[in-house]
């Protein structure tokens, strides 16, 4: 018994679909952001798993570099998204995405 | 996330012109003042502590070091009390409870109860001020710890006793403050029971010479306390 690439891919697939569920069902903007983070984590796990266990060979670290870039991008995205959410809350006193539908006000 | 508060500048000195200079001046001030403060606290590592450890490492009882006007637990000298009830009336909290009656056999007034609830007392000193016979007064005792709540009520009259009929000048000398309490409750007792507080003892400065002055004022005390009470007690015609 040993752990191969397939195991990691299954975990990342489950993470991705849970993130998708969050994105579909949640109404709260912050909660949707959490779903995005789950999806991103699934993708990054894929990259690292492929870089280590894929066909490219263990000494090729491009996948890990991409994962690093991804982590940094996720952080940047979270910062901007949360700034927007705060501003949304100030304007509407709510972060429910079904209520905050006015374009002009 | 960067705060938009203006930089804190010490109000004592005029801030230098130019923000760059102020910036570096703040850094210099922070470092140099921290350096000064650290050196002061470090010098205290080599100093004898000023605090004296209470209660077992001081060379005389704390009660003797307290100021003259200290208001401790109340105490009554029943030999001087005329049961005028002035103290009971003036007490804002009603912590003094006095009862008296006429003895049908002898026809004399007898006091049957003189209770002071020290749990209730707020040490305002009104009762001590109204007492014309120097019977009720604050002592310097403050360690009024008791083990049960009912011990907080001090019973100064154990069994009914005759009320004194003497004039203030003829009354026996006021017992030393605290000596009655010490007899009533051992917990109030000092570790040096032979030393009784007197104002002159505190005024005497050197520590080794303390014992001599405590002993000497004892004969002087009656003169000191009797003379003023005889002089300025024209009104009270308490003699029954």
């Amino acid at each position: 018994m040993s752990i191969g690439l397939g195991h990691y891919l299954v975990v990342s697939g489950l993470l991705f679909s849970l993130g998708l569920y969050v994105l579909i069902t949640r109404k709260n903007a912050v909660a949707m952001l959490m779903g995005v983070e789950l999806v991103l984590n699934a993708a990054l796990l894929n990259m690292v798993a492929f870089s280590r266990l894929g066909r490219v060979g263990p000494d090729k670290l491009d996948g890990q570099v991409f994962a690093l870039f991804g982590i940094v991008l996720a952080a940047a995205e979270a910062v901007v998204a949360l700034a927007l959410v705060l501003q949304l809350y100030r304007a509407f006193r709510s972060v429910d995405t079904t209520e905050t539908t006015d374009l002009k006000g | 996330m960067v705060p938009t508060v203006p930089p804190a500048v010490s109000p004592h000195r005029r801030p230098p012109r130019g923000t760059v200079r102020a910036y570096f001046r703040n850094i210099r001030l922070a470092l140099s003042t921290a350096f000064d403060g650290m050196s002061v606290t470090m010098s205290y590592m080599f100093r004898r502590p000023l605090t004296i450890q209470y209660p077992d490492k001081i060379d005389k009882p704390v009660q003797e070091m307290l100021p003259e006007s200290y208001r401790g637990v109340l105490e009554v000298d029943m030999d001087r009390c005329t049961v005028c009830l002035q103290c009971q009336k003036i007490c804002p909290l009603g912590c003094i409870n006095i009862e008296s009656c006429k003895n049908p056999e002898t026809g004399n007034r007898e006091v049957t109860k003189f209770d002071i609830d020290i749990g209730l007392c707020m040490y305002c000193g009104l009762c001590a001020e109204t007492c014309n016979f120097d019977a009720l007064d604050h002592t310097r005792e403050f360690e009024a710890t008791v083990t049960t709540p009912d011990q907080m009520i001090l019973h100064f009259v154990e069994k009914p006793r005759e009320v004194t009929k003497l004039k203030a000048a003829e009354m026996p000398v006021r017992k030393h403050k605290g000596s009655i309490l010490q007899k009533m409750i051992p917990a109030f007792g000092r570790r040096h029971p032979q030393e009784v507080w007197t104002p002159t003892a505190y005024a005497a400065a050197p520590v080794p010479a303390l014992k001599a002055p405590t002993a000497t004022p004892k004969p002087a005390a009656p003169v000191a306390s009797a003379a003023p009470s005889a002089a300025d007690s024209p009104t009270p015609e308490q003699a029954p």
């Binding site: 191969g4 397939g6 952001l33 280590r52 870039f69 700034a83 | -």
Partner: protein, 183 residues
Amino acid sequence: MNGSIVQVVLFYLLAALALTGACLVAFSRSIVHSAFALLGTFVGVAGLYALLAADLVAIVQVMVYVGGVLILILFAVMLTARVDEGKESNPTVGKIPGLLAMLAMAGLLVVTAVKAFGPRTVISEANPPSTVSPIGNLLLSKYVLPFEAISVLLLAVLLGAVTIASGRMRKGAGGKQEGEAPR
């Protein structure tokens, strides 16, 4: 460590941690619980990275996600939580379609993964001694352009976030609000 048993046990433990966290995020009724459950996912995924001998990525994951993103999300949750929401602070819509979509996606991904890579378990034997300096070399040679682009992006994000968060969107309507204390 030698011995694949340790690796197998650790893998299942970490995968369970990550997936439990994700499930709590998805199904918890309180948004605060959801946010704290993200911690499990992030730490679990970081552990999986460490199991994949990607130590730098694992540490950066913990540092950036737990120390940065999670804290930001928690702050956002606490600043936008309402007192009157009570226990059910994270409402959901369309649970059934969501579940269906999730199951379909999960089935698709899992079947693909198992079919493509399940029987052929690739195990690389040689543990690279350190990934720190090779990754550093890669960042400054092959990927120097993305690296610089990312730094410019980070600067832009810094300025943009400050501008958006501190600016007024419209006058009079909201004004500056402080987050309510939770009940």
